[in-house]
Amino acid sequence: MGVITLVYRGILALVLLLTVRCCYEEKNFWKQATAALVVVPLLLRLFMIK
């Protein structure tokens, strides 16, 4: 795996953590649901599945 891919996955992991944090701090259920939806593609790419 190249350095650029490691950097990319590091950025992905950071955005994923921020999204999960946002989901827990958000008081509106629908915005929490939006954050949960965003988690799906981030996880799939972080593990290089899709």
């Binding site: 891919t5 827990y24 008081k27 629908w30 929490q32 949960a36 988690v39 996880l43 599945i49 899709k50």
Partner: protein
């Protein structure tokens, strides 16, 4: 109705658990798409890998199986390449038909059914392509092939540049073409994954001194180069003779010379950088066209689409199109018949390098009995895995 629900840590945990569940289900399906489709070669085929010709592909997701059968009589060598674009199923299904039925009487036959293995594991966003197409085999079992994308998977190859510069010519194309195998020839042994794949195929053409090489494709019915043969100037005379014979048999076929200033494509670079005679063939596939409606397995198999019927009525298509659509068996039959005609013509034009392949079904047989009639039943001993 009020949808203004309050969220809390419990709802956040529940939603994230749901998202994780979706990831597991989707991830398993996507991971399954990366498994090579099972093929069951006819007697006499030996399996190699493309990395046997170019070691730079060893252990890489772009490596792909190469099957070769040598006949009892000496002659030339022919390559059939399917799956350059995994969203063009008649190409790889035709290659699979040769792999599972061919009996080589003279010369050598090379078959690469899934050229861009990574593209089979990928579907493009917003295309809504089906994951797989299925065929009923004569014993009642079902064979499946993946329906992939024109592009190499972004999991294997990224990032996509804004502009793709073809290395050996300096030609500039849209960035997404950097992931297209048929814009990457002659390839680069130190380049991107798709450039290395292209280089591996060039090494096979050079190393095995392939006489005649086919790259099997499909195109949208509204695209001008469709139901067509595209030939490099070295193969043009052979292609002209084969085209006349096909038209004589009632199979309409255009003949297009390979443009000299369009680089990266098999019909240009195979001819310029190796000794082979390159032939690219296109059948008409509505499931990849821009005018199509609902995109599903039925469309990929039948080619029936009401928007295309309307377009045909308006004279906007480059192929005849009616309520019968463009069935896959007809598209496969065109490729198989055209290859058979090319082989007969090669033996007339260049007798010492002729290649003779027997046991392949004719056009009418494929159209009448369907593709499944010529696919082998899954070999339970090999557990359905590729041989």
């Amino acid at each position: 109705m009020n949808f203004d629900f309050k969220g809390n840590k419990i709802t956040a945990t529940a939603l994230l658990a749901l998202a994780l569940g979706v990831c597991v289900v989707a991830g398993r399906e996507f991971a399954g798409n990366a498994e090579m489709d099972a093929v069951f070669p006819a007697e006499g085929f030996q399996k190699k890998m493309l990395s046997d010709y170019f070691g730079g592909l060893k252990g890489h997701p772009m490596d792909t199986p190469v099957f070769v059968q040598e006949g009892p009589e000496p002659g030339g060598s022919v390559l059939i390449l399917g799956g350059t674009h995994p969203n063009e199923p008649s190409g790889y299904v035709s290659a699979a038909l040769f792999l599972e039925n061919a009996r080589v009487a003279r010369g050598r036959l090379f078959v690469i059914p899934f050229a861009n293995a990574s593209g089979f594991a990928n579907t493009l966003a917003q295309e809504a392509s089906p994951n797989r197409i299925r065929f009923a085999v004569l014993d009642g079992s079902v064979r499946t092939f993946r329906y992939g994308s024109r592009d190499t998977s972004p999991v294997v190859m990224w990032p996509t540049p804004d502009i793709y510069i073809h290395k050996s010519s300096g030609q500039e194309l849209a960035g997404n073409e950097s992931k297209n195998l048929n814009r990457a020839y002659p390839g680069d042994p130190e380049g991107t994954p798709v450039e290395r794949l292209a280089y591996g195929i060039m090494e096979l053409l050079r190393g095995e001194r392939i006489t005649l090489a086919f790259d099997l494709h499909e195109a949208s019915p509204e695209y001008p180069v469709v139901e067509a043969i595209v030939a490099h100037e070295r193969s043009l005379e052979l292609a002209a003779a084969a085209t006349m014979e096909l038209i004589g048999q009632g199979i309409d076929m255009r003949l297009e010379p390979s443009p000299k200033n369009l680089h990266g494509l098999s019909h240009r670079e195979w001819g310029d950088f190796t000794e082979t005679m390159p032939i690219l063939m296109e059948s008409a596939n509505p499931s990849q066209g821009r005018l199509r409606g609902r995109t599903d397995e039925a469309l990929a198999l039948s080619g029936r689409d009401k928007a295309y019927l309307k377009a045909a009525g308006l004279g906007r298509l480059f192929v005849p199109y009616d309520e019968n659509g463009k069935p896959l068996e007809q598209r496969v039959a065109r490729h198989v018949t055209a290859i058979n005609v090319f082989l007969e013509t090669l033996s007339l034009f260049d007798e010492p390098n002729g290649v003779s392949v027997e046991n392949m079904p004719g056009y009418g047989e494929i159209v009448e009995k369907g593709v499944g009639a010529y696919l082998r039943k899954p070999n339970r001993e090999s557990n359905g895995k590729p041989n």
